[in-house]
């Protein structure tokens, strides 16, 4: 299919921790289409960041990709050579990290950051690179003459976030990964940033993978949503389908757990503690907390199956 | 008992350190009771043998016995120095940090002046000009006259940061008097830090004391390891004569071992600090 940009097939990522082996991503399957915004939603620790970082083959020192394929335009990212991987990074797929304020090197200024990034991928002259960087800074509503020679400690949190956003579009990537882009910002700046991202999406038609624990943010920006639990993708569908007609009990519980300013103020938190990722329960990962759990749910892990109109669910109830 | 074994297995380095330090302390105790070592010149320059485990020096004296007796010197003086510098350092640092104001400014200036001046030359000059008596207290006093400044400054900065902590503010609001706060809260919080400084100053006391004897600046007391090295190098011909090389090398090995032993003890402080305990 030509409109599918990225295909993740049976990806498993594990970490060595003092207590044992932690499986952060468990045979995950996910597609990202060209030009769409896909929201990856889940509780803290469910593996969404690990999944997203794997797309760039970034894994923490104590982790490793155990198995699976990540096909970007048909090529498996995980089997690229070091040099091919370096060229692929940022040019095809870029990422804005969580708490991105610390993504800038404290001892060089913004101009050097931009030059570094451009020169690593394109044989441009310094002038061309500077002109292009300045125009990008302007597009995120920053003043280049002031910002270019600034160091990280001279910029406010919001300004740093915008610099990093501009830098992410420097090479016109096809996919932009946003890892909790609004987490360390106040509400007003959050809204500002979301508007900015929407603007970028409209202008460049870049695909976006938006990682968040807040379904509301996904609803605002995303076209489709994928729900993740304990390293498994449990439901995929359009934003309307997920919000108004969720098939998986966990999805429903997640949506119900978010308080809404209008309408029903009663909050329904999901009962029970988060299960231990080093020793996950057998069968369906949600069965200890699922109000509809059946006997089969305790022993057999439900696979992600495709329903009509592009939806996918991993639940025994939806057979 | 089982607890001790479990502890030993998890913290091997600390236990080795304790073992080393205890061995030397034992040596020092034994050394105290050894009478003055006489030597038979006819037995001079002998290599290691069953009678003299490390050989004899230029005057026929047993080298191992001298080392054992030297341990007393080294340990007693180092301990005294550490005690003096830590006490003065704590008192000055605590006062300076807690009281603040003019007293703080004066004390800090004194500390900074002392610390800017290179310590080794200063100690050498002081030691050479004061009437020297082979009394450990006097020697320790001279070496401590400078050393307290570093400790005081470190303690002062710790006190300053503890002062800002919220539980101190809470104690003040509760109506505790300043003195009570000082002893019950601030000092208690400082204890692990003071303990670590104490051990570190023992180590640096060993180095500076032995070094000064080695240079010949401190009074003649033939058993200190530094003095042994000094004589070995100048009169004792340990550099030329292989059979008596232990006269020089023996003390060197002991210095290294003792310093390592104390260094290995340092993590013990973290273990005893309730704030850092993981269980």
């Amino acid at each position: 299919m030509n409109d599918v940009l990225l295909q993740i097939r049976n990806l498993t990522v594990e970490f060595r921790v003092p207590r044992g082996i932690l499986r952060a991503v468990d045979s995950a399957v996910l597609d990202i289409k060209r030009g769409e915004v896909l929201g990856l939603i889940g509780e803290s620790g469910c593996g969404k960041s690990v999944l997203a970082h794997s797309i760039l083959k970034i894994v923490a020192p104590n982790g490793y990709i155990k198995s699976g394929k990540i096909l970007f335009e048909g090529r498996d990212v995980l089997s690229l050579s070091d040099e091919e991987l370096r060229k692929y990074r940022w040019k095809e797929v870029a990422i804005i990290f969580q708490g991105a304020q610390n993504s800038l090197n404290p001892v060089i200024n913004v101009k050097e950051h931009m030059l570094d990034t451009i020169k690593a991928h394109k044989p441009a002259t310094t002038e061309e690179a500077l002109v292009y960087s300045s125009s990008l800074l302007k597009s995120v509503w920053l003043e280049p003459s002031r910002v270019m020679k600034a160091y990280a400690f001279e910029l406010s949190g919001g300004m740093k976030q915008r610099v990093i956003t501009a830098m992410s579009m420097l090479l016109d990537p096809k996919l932009l990964i946003l890892d909790e882009p609004t987490s360390s910002l106040d509400v007003l700046t959050q809204r500002y940033l979301l508007e900015l991202l929407k603007d970028i999406h409209r202008q460049k038609n870049v695909s976006m993978l938006l990682i968040t624990h807040d379904p509301g943010i996904a609803a605002y920006l995303a076209d489709r949503g994928a729900i993740m639990l304990l390293g498994n993708i449990v439901e995929v569908g359009s934003v309307e389908q997920i919000f108004y007609n969720a098939k998986h009990p966990y999805t429903r519980a997640l949506i119900d757990a978010v308080p809404s300013i209008v309408g029903n103020i009663k909050v329904k938190p999901i009962p029970g503690p988060l299960p231990d990722p080093v020793n996950p329960p057998p069968g369906c990962p949600f069965h200890p907390r699922c109000p509809y759990a059946m006997e089969v749910c305790k022993h057999v892990r439900p696979e992600l199956i495709e329903l009509e109109n592009g939806r996918q669910v991993a639940c025994h109830l939806s057979r | 008992m089982a607890f001790l074994l479990h502890f030993a297995r998890k913290n091997v380095r600390v236990c080795v350190g304790i073992a080393i330090v205890l061995t030397f302390v034992l040596m020092a105790l034994i050394g105290y009771f050894i009478p003055n070592i006489e030597g038979n010149v006819s037995e001079a320059y002998q290599g290691p043998s069953s009678r003299h485990l490390l050989g004899t020096d230029y005057a026929g004296r047993d080298i191992l016995l001298q080392i054992v007796k030297g341990a007393t010197d080294v340990l007693v003086i180092s301990f005294l120095i550490a005690l003096m510098t830590t006490s003065i350092g704590v008192i000055v640092g605590l006062t300076s940090g807690y009281v603040g104001g003019l007293i703080d400014s004066i004390l800090t200036s004194i500390m900074n002046i002392i610390l800017t001046i290179p310590s080794m030359p200063l100690l050498m000059v002081i030691a050479s000009l004061i009437k020297m008596v082979p009394n450990p207290f006097v020697i320790a006093g001279i070496l401590s006259s400078i050393g307290w400044a570093g400790q005081a400054r470190a303690i002062r900065s710790q006190v300053l940061s503890i002062k800002e902590e919220e539980y101190i503010e809470a104690a003040r609001i509760l109506g505790l008097r300043k003195i009570e706060i000082l002893f019950n809260e601030v000092l208690v919080a400082l204890l692990p830090y003071i303990a670590m400084n104490f051990i570190l100053s023992i180590i640096s006391a060993i180095y500076s004391q032995v070094g000064m004897y080695y240079l010949g600046v401190l009074p003649f007391s033939s058993y200190n390891w530094g003095m042994m090295m000094n004589i070995a190098r100048s009169h004792g011909n340990a550099l030329w004569c292989p059979s008596t090389v232990m006269y020089l090398v023996g003390p060197m090995v002991c210095i290294v071992l003792l310093a390592q032993g104390f260094t290995m003890l340092l993590p013990l402080i973290d273990l005893l600090n309730p704030r850092l305990r993981e269980e």
């Binding site: 990074r89 800038l104 570094d116 | 900074n112 001046i117 030359p121 002081i126 050479s128 180590i203 060197m252």
Partner: protein, 329 residues
């Protein structure tokens, strides 16, 4: 600006304290060397006046004058470079000896600091990058061990093994006595040959500290977000290693380097004495042993004044290197 003035005042104050206290310690304290010398001469049979005259000739101090006058004379002498006459080297002005000694000290100290620092940071960086490997663990363990060995033990060991047992390197001195000093190849070669052991001792004694410091700094920096972000941006490895990792790891160490540079004059006392290397440190040791007051005073003043001044200059320069420090000040 305010800070610079305060620092300068502190500098002047320290200088003043050092110069004054040196004067008092050496000539004004009771039980000092002058009195000891005089009482010894009196016991030998000289009269009191003769004894004092001898002391004055030897130590250039007139005890009959009031304290303040002596102090002013002392200050005047200092300003004109008159540091007295050495007792050990009968009649040679202290100033002359110091002029001779300073280049040797600066020579070995500066080479040592530069090599030690450079070696330490290169190896520290490498040790951090390959910290899972066995070699790295071995290097770190050895470095930790060496840190606990005092520099005079290392120097003595080198002297014993390389100079006496193996005879590869000379046992002392700055150059072979039969060579004429000058800009000729023989002299330079001999000087370098004699400098090897002292420099090696200094390096072995100090570079473990740099290594461990650089290693732990680098490990910390490697875990920082901006390094991972740089990798995600597809930057070449060399650029990341130097501009993103090494630069950030070295910056906290600049203070330490500054202190090391500041103590170039005073820190080599042990090593120079053990290798009988004619630097200021060695002359200080000798003069202490021989109770040669003018020499001792001169060496001490030179070492101290040089160290304080060097620290002051380095302090001023430090602000220029790290832009963050400039902002704080």
């Amino acid at each position: 600006m305010n800070w610079v003035i305060r620092r300068f005042l502190f500098f002047i104050l320290t200088l003043f304290v050092v110069i004054t206290s040196t004067f008092f310690i050496t000539s004004a304290m009771p039980g000092n060397i002058i009195d000891t010398y005089v009482s010894e001469r009196i016991r030998e049979g000289f009269s009191v006046e003769e004894a004092y005259r001898m002391a004055q000739a030897l130590y250039a101090i007139n005890m009959s004058e009031p304290l303040l006058v002596r102090y002013i004379k002392y200050l005047k002498n200092l300003l004109t470079g008159n540091l007295g006459t050495s007792y050990m080297y009968s009649g040679t002005p202290v100033f002359t000896i110091l002029i001779y000694a300073v280049p040797w000290t600066v020579f070995i100290s500066s080479i040592s600091v530069v090599i030690s620092f450079t070696l330490g940071i290169i190896q520290g960086l490498w040790a951090a990058y390959s910290r899972k490997s066995k070699i790295s663990t071995l290097m770190t363990g050895t470095a930790s061990f060496l840190m606990a060995v005092p520099n005079y033990v290392i120097a003595t060991a080198f002297l014993l093994v390389f100079a006496y047992h193996l005879g590869i390197f000379p046992r002392g001195g700055a150059y072979d006595a039969w060579i004429r000093p000058g800009m000729n190849l023989e002299f330079v070669a001999s000087a370098l040959y004699h400098a090897v052991l002292p420099v090696m001792s200094y390096i072995v004694a100090t570079y473990p500290g740099w290594l461990l410091l650089m290693r732990s700094n680098t490990i910390r920096v490697l875990g920082e977000d901006y390094v991972i972000a740089a990798e995600a941006r597809g930057l070449p490895k060399s650029r990341i290693t130097y501009t993103y990792v090494a630069r950030n790891a070295i910056i906290p160490m600049i203070t330490n380097l500054a202190i090391s540079l500041g103590s170039i004059f005073g820190g080599a006392t042990f090593i120079e004495t053990i290798f009988t290397y004619p630097g200021i440190g060695m002359f200080l040791s000798q003069s202490v042993g021989a109770k040669d007051i003018p020499m001792m005073q001169g060496c001490f003043l030179l070492i101290t004044v040089a160290t304080i001044t060097a620290n002051f200059i380095v302090d001023l320069l430090y602000g220029k290197i790290d832009p963050r420090i400039r902002a704080i000040r």
